[in-house]
Symmetry: C2
Subunit: 329 residues, 2 copies
Amino acid sequence: MNILIIGAGGMVGRKLTAALVKNRTLAGREIARIDLVDVAAPDLPQAQDIDIRALAADISDPTTAPRLIADRPDMIFHLAAIVSGEAELDFEKGYAINLDGTRYLFEAIRLAGKDSPYCPRVVLTSSIAVFGAPFPDRIGDEFFQTPRTSYGTQKAMCELLLSDYSRRGFFDGIGIRLPTICIRPGAPNKAASGFFSSILREPLAGKEAVLPVDESARHWHASPRAAVNFLIHAAQLDTALLGARRNLNMPGLSATVGEQIEALRRVAGEKAVGLIRREPDAMIVEMVDGWAKDFDASRALSLGFSAESSFDEIIGIHIEDELGGELPQ
Amino acid sequence: MNILIIGAGGMVGRKLTAALVKNRTLAGREIARIDLVDVAAPDLPQAQDIDIRALAADISDPTTAPRLIADRPDMIFHLAAIVSGEAELDFEKGYAINLDGTRYLFEAIRLAGKDSPYCPRVVLTSSIAVFGAPFPDRIGDEFFQTPRTSYGTQKAMCELLLSDYSRRGFFDGIGIRLPTICIRPGAPNKAASGFFSSILREPLAGKEAVLPVDESARHWHASPRAAVNFLIHAAQLDTALLGARRNLNMPGLSATVGEQIEALRRVAGEKAVGLIRREPDAMIVEMVDGWAKDFDASRALSLGFSAESSFDEIIGIHIEDELGGELPQ
């Protein structure tokens, strides 16, 4: 089993790589090789018996994709994208990387299959940004895609391509729409959604965090560990079960900021909660109000995808995976 | 008011041109010029006081779109596409014309607006092929797009682009998903849906027609006249009413083949009905079974779009518009 991970340098890509290296098998086959690709060459993890390589490449360059699949990987995880904020600020770059980059990859696979049969599994990370307000209280599996960002538009277009290329037999694709990943490790970033993580991560580390919205704000979450499990499950799933509908809302946890804070209180006490500073930001309030709040992800659940059911669990995963299993004193 | 019609040589394009020439105004403004574009130069209709030009152009050539909009038309009807069957047979040509051709047009408009403000109305014809079975009994306005053809995929992708370019203010777009057009005038063609028209058109002209499916087969129809009215209404609509959701299911008539035949009997008598020869075709039966059968097009209806409410009416329109107002003796 040879694996290609595009976008391997990001948080989810690094955790996916670590999980694959640890598991040493995927879909019942031994992993022989993993190619890690990102705009800067990803770090090479230690791995016994797996040939791991790292490559810096720009997927918006049409010559990149044919090189990436020249050795015909069996499994391709396509996680690479520029994020929502950047795709909104730089219209051309967003389409070049998020749409054209994906299409070049799909085309390279299709054209490789013309020479001799080639039909890899392709796992694409998409996003709940393919949906745009107004929403029903819970978004069902058959709700339409009306993105309100260029990023969401690009992801929805890639999902359509993935379905068509799969239907045509050019590859065996599955697209998974990730919830907001929480608790995102690392330093606070400028993403408008960053506070969902930082109001937990920073107090757990004894640091202050800023809350820009009301405690009643509701959002859709899953842990980094759940995201990696989604990817691995998608890679191993019998895609015959998907029929022609190859893009799935992943399960997640719908919770208010207030429920996040209550969980923090239970896990880390009043002192941690006291580190959250309320600084309402009208622009962030408005953006968050336009985001999906809750899903009925029945289809993914019935296909065996699973996520957390409480923020206590999500905080516990962060403590286990990022803080060595215990809170700093 | 200067108008550009891309795909002006097709049946709907010719009827739209004729209606505009007859009306002489659009959206309350006098029509000064109409540019007709298609892969072969469209016929020039007679028109007083309107400067009409015809041009042959290949929209899959990236240099075409900038030329087409060089004079900054106020209104652009984009009807050009290769049809479902051809897009399925020729994968590359379908994407080149239906997706890339549309994107080149949208990009040309965006880039023209960088030099000096330019924000034309763009009316895009899309199709109910953006939907794919299984369906609810009636497809609502918020049902998701899971096309089962490359044509439907390309149209759904163009719809997403149209919404994003409109949201960004690059143009003022509206996409309309046409029902199957019935009764399509002219000679029988090879489209799998052709029989819906030919089982009426041919007997009305005293000729035999072949029915390849059962009388219980249900489908979604609108007349050529309704299609032209959709386009003109879309061109004149206050798009502020659309919000961010700029693609609409057009209204139509859901009817079974049996209901079509009953209407033919009422209008043209038993002798006409006797000209329908039943020749079941398993492949067509299966294709038709996968097509959308009925819509709840509430949103378009509330925005003032309207279509026929009976097949008697649809047949009457064909007799008026194509047969000079009376049945041949």
